[in-house]
C-alpha cells in the first residue's frame, strides 16, 4: 500500500506520520500542498501541526491548497483519508466532515497520554481494533474542542459515526466527549489525538496507535 502524507506550510507531524506508515508495514509517500497531484497513492493522511500558523481559523487556509482539490475528489471516490489534529481541522473546513474544532475550554494547549474508546471499527483506519477497545494515544492540541449543532451530534451518534471518545475526563471540552468522527461512507476519518505518536514504545505513549496504520491495508485488500 502507498500512503500519501501531505506537507502544508506549518505541518509538524508529517515526518512522524510517514514513520508510522512505515512501521505499519506500508510505503509512505510525501505529498506537497502546492501540487495538484496525489502521485497515485492508495490513501492520504493530513498530518498534525499548525498549518499557516493557525492564525486564521485552524485549517481555514489549508483547505484551499491545490492538493486539497485532489483530496476532496479522491475522498468522494472512496479513498481512505485520515486527518489527525490539524488534519481533522482541515477536513472540517473542507466540509468532508461535519462540525468544527474550537479552542480548548480551559484555554491552554494540552499534551498528555489520553485514554480513548474506539467505537467504530468499520472504517479503513480502525478495522484493526476491537469495537469498544480502550487505547492510550497522545493528545496534543490548543484547539481540539469538537463542536456541532445538536442535530448533527445526534446524527453522528445515531449512525455510529463517532469513531472514538475520550475516557477518564474530557481534555478539551469536546461535545459528548468526541475525539474522532467519520463521514457517512466511512472512508474519511478525523481524529484529534495523534496515533502516529503511539507506534513505538520507546518514543511515544505505547503502541496503541499502530492499528490506525495497519487497518486500511486489510480493509482495502479485503
Amino acid at each position: 500500500m502507498r500512503v500519501g502524507v501531505v506537507t502544508f506550510p506549518g505541518s509538524l507531524d508529517d515526518e512522524d506520520a510517514r514513520r508510522a506508515v512505515r512501521i505499519g508495514g506500508h510505503e509512505a509517500v510525501a505529498l506537497w500542498h502546492g501540487d495538484h497531484d496525489l502521485q497515485g497513492v492508495d490513501a492520504v493522511i493530513l498530518p498534525g501541526g499548525f498549518s499557516y500558523g493557525d492564525y486564521l481559523r485552524c485549517g481555514a487556509i489549508s483547505r484551499f491548497a491545490p492538493v486539497m482539490t485532489e483530496v476532496v475528489a479522491a475522498a468522494g471516490r472512496g479513498m481512505p483519508v485520515l486527518g489527525i489534529c490539524n488534519g481533522f481541522q482541515i477536513l472540517c473546513e473542507s466540509h468532508l466532515l461535519p462540525g468544527a474544532l474550537i479552542r480548548n475550554d480551559h484555554r491552554k494547549f494540552v499534551c498528555k497520554d489520553q485514554k480513548l474508546r474506539i467505537e467504530n471499527t468499520r472504517t479503513p483506519w480502525t478495522s484493526a481494533y476491537d469495537e469498544g477497545a480502550e487505547v492510550t494515544i497522545v493528545l496534543k492540541n490548543g484547539e481540539g474542542g469538537y463542536v456541532a449543532d445538536a442535530d448533527t451530534l445526534d446524527r453522528l451518534e445515531g449512525e455510529g459515526r463517532v469513531l472514538a471518545r475520550y475516557l477518564d475526563g474530557n481534555p478539551n471540552g469536546s461535545m459528548r466527549d468526541i475525539a474522532g468522527i467519520t463521514n457517512e461512507r466511512g472512508n474519511v476519518v478525523g481524529l484529534m489525538p495523534h496515533p502516529e505518536h503511539a507506534v513505538e514504545a520507546l518514543t511515544g505513549a505505547g503502541t496503541d496507535g499502530l492499528g490506525f496504520f495497519q487497518s486500511f491495508g486489510a480493509a482495502i485488500a479485503g
Partner: protein, 756 residues
C-alpha cells in the same frame, strides 16, 4: 534630515544622543577616535547597540575568557567503547558550540536568556526567547531537534507571579509547539528574589552531519548578501541595549520600548527553507538576526570573513515604510536570516525561498575594502571597520569584592533549627515538601508543551534529563539536562556553580549517557555592584575549575546581568546545561520504579547537609550556612557507574533538591509502584539532606551482588536501603504514606494556585 558620512565630516560638532542610547562619554569618544570623525546617526545606532552589555559582554568578558583555558575537546569514547577524545567542531565565539558525537554526527546546543523582555511582556518575551535560540542553532547548519526551558519565578503566592508565569509558559509553548520542536525538560523554580525579575532561559539542541557545519562569515569578494525571512518592522528597536541592560528602577528614565513580537509559523518556514538551502550546498556563510538585528549580522559576518561588505539598506523589505535607516539597523524583528552566496547561486536560493513562501532580497555584497559600508538611497550612512563594531567594544574591569555580609551568611547555619523528631513529624514533612512550590508536580507547566513531536523523544520531563534519538538505525542519541540551585550559589558562588555543573552532569548520567560538554546561562544582578560582580567572578571560576576536573569543555553560553529591582539582586543563578551522548537510546535507564520487588540502593554518601536545602527553605524560611560539599571525582565515579550499569540498573534518579525523600516520592508516583525503606540512625538526615554525588537506583532481585561489585570497583558507596512494591511510601519504624495521598499532595499545588 538624513545624516550621512559626508555630513558628519562637514558638521563635526553636532550634538548626538549618545547618552540616551546607553553609551558612556569615553565610549562615545572612542567611536570618534575609531572613525576620525563623529559617527553618523546610523553608525551611532550600530555602536550603541553592539557595545551594549547584552551584545558586547563588556562587564563579563574578562571573566568569561578563562573558559578558553579548558581544553577544547570532549571525553567522547571510541567506537569500541574505550576512552577517547572527541572534537569540537566549533566553540566559544560561534553562534553555538558544535560537538562530535560519533558516527559522523555532531550536535550543537546553547542556552540563552530572555529575562527582561519576559517580565515586560511575558508571552512574547518568552516566545521570542525560544525563537532566538532556535535560529542560533539553525545558523550552525543543524536541524533543531529539541528545546528546554529553565524558568524562575517569584513566589507562587504573589499576584505578579500569576501574571508572569502563565504568560511565559504559554509563550514558550505557543512558539515551540508551533515550530514542531519537542520540549524535553527544564526547570521551574520559585524564589522571592525572582519577583520582578523572572528568568526565562531557553536551550535548543540541533543535529547535523559533520560536513554540514556552517559558520557566520562573509567571504569571497563579490559574493551576494541575502536577507530572507520576515520583513523588518519597528519592533524591539533598541530592545537589546535598553531592555537587557538597564534595571527596572521606578525613578529612572522610562526606557521600555516595544518587546519583539514572534511569528513561529514564519520561523518554521525559515527552518525548512534554510535546511533546504544547506542541502543545496549554496550557502557560504550564514548568520541569524537576533539581538541588534542587522547591525549585528552585517558587522559579525564581515569581521569574521574577508572584512568588507557593502549593503544597500533601502533594499531591506519593510513592514513599516516610515522606518529610518537608524531604526532599520537596530530593529530586532524576529524570524530573519542573512546568507552569503556566490552570484551564480542567487537564482537557486530565490527558488528555494519561493517554494517556502519566504521573502528574500539581495541587500549587498562582500567586498575587499575592509570596511562595512551601508548606503541609504545612494547616500553613505555607514562606513566603519566592521571589527570595531562587532568585537572591539569596551572591556570593563569592574571592581568586585566579597560582600561584607558573606561571612555572617555562612555562619548562620541551619544546625540549630528544629527538626522533625518522630515518625508523624517526618510524615508531615514529606507531605509538606512534596507539595512545596519547588518540589511539586510541574505538569501544569509541561503539559502545555509538546514533548512528542518529531517522534524521537526518549526521555522528557519529569525525567532527570531529556533524551533524543538521533539515528533510528543505530540508536545513537543525545541527552541534555539543565540545573542550578541559586540558594547554594548565594551561600558560596564558587561551590554553587560547581554544584549546578555536578547536578546537570549527574542528571545526564542517570539515563545512561556519557556527559560531553557544557553550555551556561549566567543570570546575575547588577555588575555595577561589587558584591554581585564577586558572585559572578566566583561562579565563573568555579565553573571553569569544575569543567577542568570533569574533563568537559564549555562550548558557549550567555550572560544576563542587571537582574535586580532596586538594590536587591536575584539569587546568583548560573544555570548549567550538560550535553551527553548515548550509544543506544533503546537501552537507556528509566528514571522511576518500574516493577515490584526490586532492590533499592542509594549510591554515594549522605552527610548532615541541610544548609540551603528545600527543607530549611520551606519549613524555616532560612538561608544561611554552607552548601553541600563538592566532590567532582565522586561525581565522575558515579557517572561511570551509571553508564556502565546500563542494562543492570532498572531505574536511576538523581538525589538533589528535597533529597532522598523527594527522589523516592517521584520514583514511586510515576508508575504507581510503592517503596519500603528500612530504618536509619537518623531518618531525617537520610531523607532530607541534599548531599551531592548521590543517586537512587534499583536492580532486579538477584542482581544486588553485581551492583555492589561494580560500585566497589569504582569506589562508589552503594547501600541497600529498601525494596519496591505496594501502594505506599513507607519508612519502617517511622511512617507510611499511601501513594494516593502522596500524589494528591504533590499534584495539587500548581492547579490550586493557577487554576486547572
Amino acid at each position: 534630515m538624513l545624516d550621512t558620512v559626508g555630513l558628519a565630516e562637514k558638521d563635526p560638532d553636532r550634538e548626538q544622543p549618545w547618552a540616551e542610547l546607553g553609551l558612556k562619554a569615553d565610549e562615545y569618544a572612542r567611536i570618534k577616535e575609531i572613525l576620525g570623525r563623529r559617527p553618523t546617526s546610523s553608525e551611532l545606532a550600530m555602536y550603541s547597540v553592539m557595545w551594549s552589555e547584552h551584545c558586547s559582554y563588556k562587564s563579563s568578558k574578562v571573566h568569561l575568557k578563562q573558559f578558553a583555558e579548558i581544553p577544547q575537546e570532549t571525553p567522547l569514547a571510541n567506537a569500541d567503547g574505550t576512552a577517547g577524545v572527541g572534537k569540537m567542531l566549533a566553540g566559544i565565539g560561534e553562534n553555538a558550540g558544535v560537538v562530535d558525537i560519533g558516527q559522523g554526527y555532531a550536535v550543537t546546543f546553547k542556552i540563552e536568556s530572555h529575562n527582561h523582555p519576559s517580565y515586560v511582556e511575558p508571552y512574547q518575551g518568552a516566545a521570542t526567547g525560544v525563537g532566538g535560540i532556535v535560529r542560533d542553532i539553525l545558523a550552525m547548519g543543524a536541524r533543531p531537534v529539541a528545546v528546554m526551558d529553565p524558568l524562575r519565578f517569584g513566589p507562587l503566592s504573589e499576584p505578579d507571579t500569576h501574571r508572569v508565569l502563565p504568560g511565559i509558559v504559554a509563550g514558550v509553548g505557543g512558539y515551540g509547539n508551533c515550530l514542531g520542536l519537542p520540549n524535553i525538560g527544564g526547570e521551574a523554580v520559585f524564589d522571592a528574589s525572582y519577583l520582578g525579575n523572572p528568568l526565562v532561559n531557553a536551550l535548543c539542541v540541533g543535529v547535523l552531519r559533520h560536513e554540514d557545519l556552517h559558520l557566520a562569515k562573509a567571504t569571497g569578494s563579490g559574493n551576494q548578501v541575502v536577507l530572507y525571512g520576515a520583513r523588518t518592522g519597528g519592533d524591539g528597536i533598541g530592545g537589546v541595549s535598553v531592555l537587557a541592560s538597564e534595571t527596572f528602577d521606578e525613578t529612572g528614565p522610562a526606557k521600555r520600548p516595544s518587546v519583539q513580537v514572534g511569528d513561529p509559523f514564519m520561523e518554521k518556514l525559515l527552518i525548512e527553507c534554510t535546511l533546504e538551502l544547506f542541502a543545496a550546498g549554496i550557502v557560504t556563510g550564514i548568520q541569524d538576526l537576533g539581538g541588534a538585528g542587522l547591525s549585528c549580522a552585517t558587522s559579525e559576518l564581515a569581521s569574521a570573513g574577508d572584512g568588507g561588505m557593502h549593503v544597500e539598506l533601502d533594499r531591506v523589505p519593510l513592514r513599516d515604510s516610515s522606518l529610518a535607516p537608524e531604526e532599520i539597523l537596530m530593529s530586532e524583528s524576529q524570524e530573519r536570516m542573512m546568507a552569503v552566496v556566490e552570484p551564480e547561486d542567487v537564482d537557486a536560493l530565490m527558488a528555494i525561498c519561493a517554494k517556502w513562501d519566504v521573502e528574500a532580497v539581495v541587500v549587498g555584497e562582500v567586498t575587499d575594502t575592509g570596511r562595512l559600508e551601508i548606503d541609504w538611497h545612494g547616500e553613505r550612512v555607514v562606513d566603519v571597520p566592521p571589527r570595531s563594531v562587532a568585537h572591539d567594544g569596551p572591556t570593563y574591569h569592574r571592581p568586585f569584592e566579597r560582600p561584607d555580609w558573606q561571612d555572617a551568611l555562612q555562619a548562620d547555619t541551619a544546625a540549630g533549627l528544629q527538626r522533625p523528631t518522630n515518625g508523624d513529624e517526618l510524615r508531615d514533612t514529606v507531605l509538606r515538601l512534596v507539595a512545596s512550590e519547588n518540589l511539586c508536580d510541574k505538569s501544569w507547566i509541561t503539559d502545555q508543551y509538546d514533548r512528542y513531536v518529531r517522534g524521537d523523544t526518549v526521555l522528557a520531563q519529569p525525567s532527570d534529563s531529556g533524551m533524543i534519538r538521533v539515528d533510528e538505525e543505530t540508536g545513537l542519541g543525545v541527552s541534555v539536562a539543565t540545573d542550578c540551585n541559586g540558594r547554594f550559589a548565594k551561600l558560596d558562588p564558587y561551590a554553587g556553580a560547581q554544584l549546578a555543573l555536578a547536578e546537570a552532569y549527574r542528571n545526564v548520567a542517570t539515563g545512561g549517557a556519557s556527559p560531553l560538554a557544557v553550555s551556561d546561562c549566567l543570570n546575575f544582578g547588577s555588575p555595577e555592584d561589587p558584591a554581585v560582580m564577586w558572585q559572578f567572578a566566583e561562579a565563573c571560576r568555579g565553573l571553569k575549575d569544575g569543567c577542568l576536573e570533569l574533563g568537559i569543555p564549555v562550548t558557549g553560553g550567555n550572560v544576563s546581568l542587571y537582574n535586580q529591582t532596586g538594590a536587591t539582586a536575584i539569587l546568583p543563578t548560573p544555570v548549567v546545561a550538560v550535553l551527553g551522548v548515548v550509544e543506544d537510546v533503546r537501552r537507556r535507564t528509566p528514571s522511576a520504579f518500574g516493577a515490584e520487588g526490586e532492590a533499592v540502593y542509594q549510591l554515594g554518601d549522605t552527610r548532615d547537609e541541610l544548609d540551603g536545602s528545600e527543607w530549611v527553605h520551606v519549613v524555616h524560611g532560612h538561608l544561611g550556612g554552607l552548601p553541600p560539599r563538592v566532590d567532582l571525582m565522586a561525581e565522575r565515579a558515579l557517572a561511570t557507574l551509571l553508564h556502565d550499569g546500563v542494562g543492570l540498573l532498572t531505574s536511576a534518579h538523581d538525589l538533589s533538591e528535597g533529597g532522598l525523600a523527594q527522589a523516592l516520592a517521584e520514583s514511586a508516583l510515576r508508575h504507581g509502584v510503592g517503596v519500603t525503606v528500612g530504618p536509619s540512625d537518623d531518618s531525617f538526615v537520610q531523607l532530607f539532606s541534599e548531599s551531592a554525588a548521590r543517586c537512587l537506583v534499583t536492580v532486579r532481585p538477584g542482581e544486588e551482588g553485581a551492583l555492589e561489585a561494580m560500585a566497589g570497583a569504582l569506589g562508589v558507596s552503594a547501600r541497600r536501603i529498601g525494596t519496591t512494591g505496594g501502594d505506599a511510601f513507607t519508612v519502617e519504624g517511622a511512617f507510611s504514606i499511601p501513594l494516593d495521598e502522596l500524589r494528591a499532595a504533590w499534584t495539587s499545588t500548581l492547579p490550586n494556585a493557577l487554576g486547572a
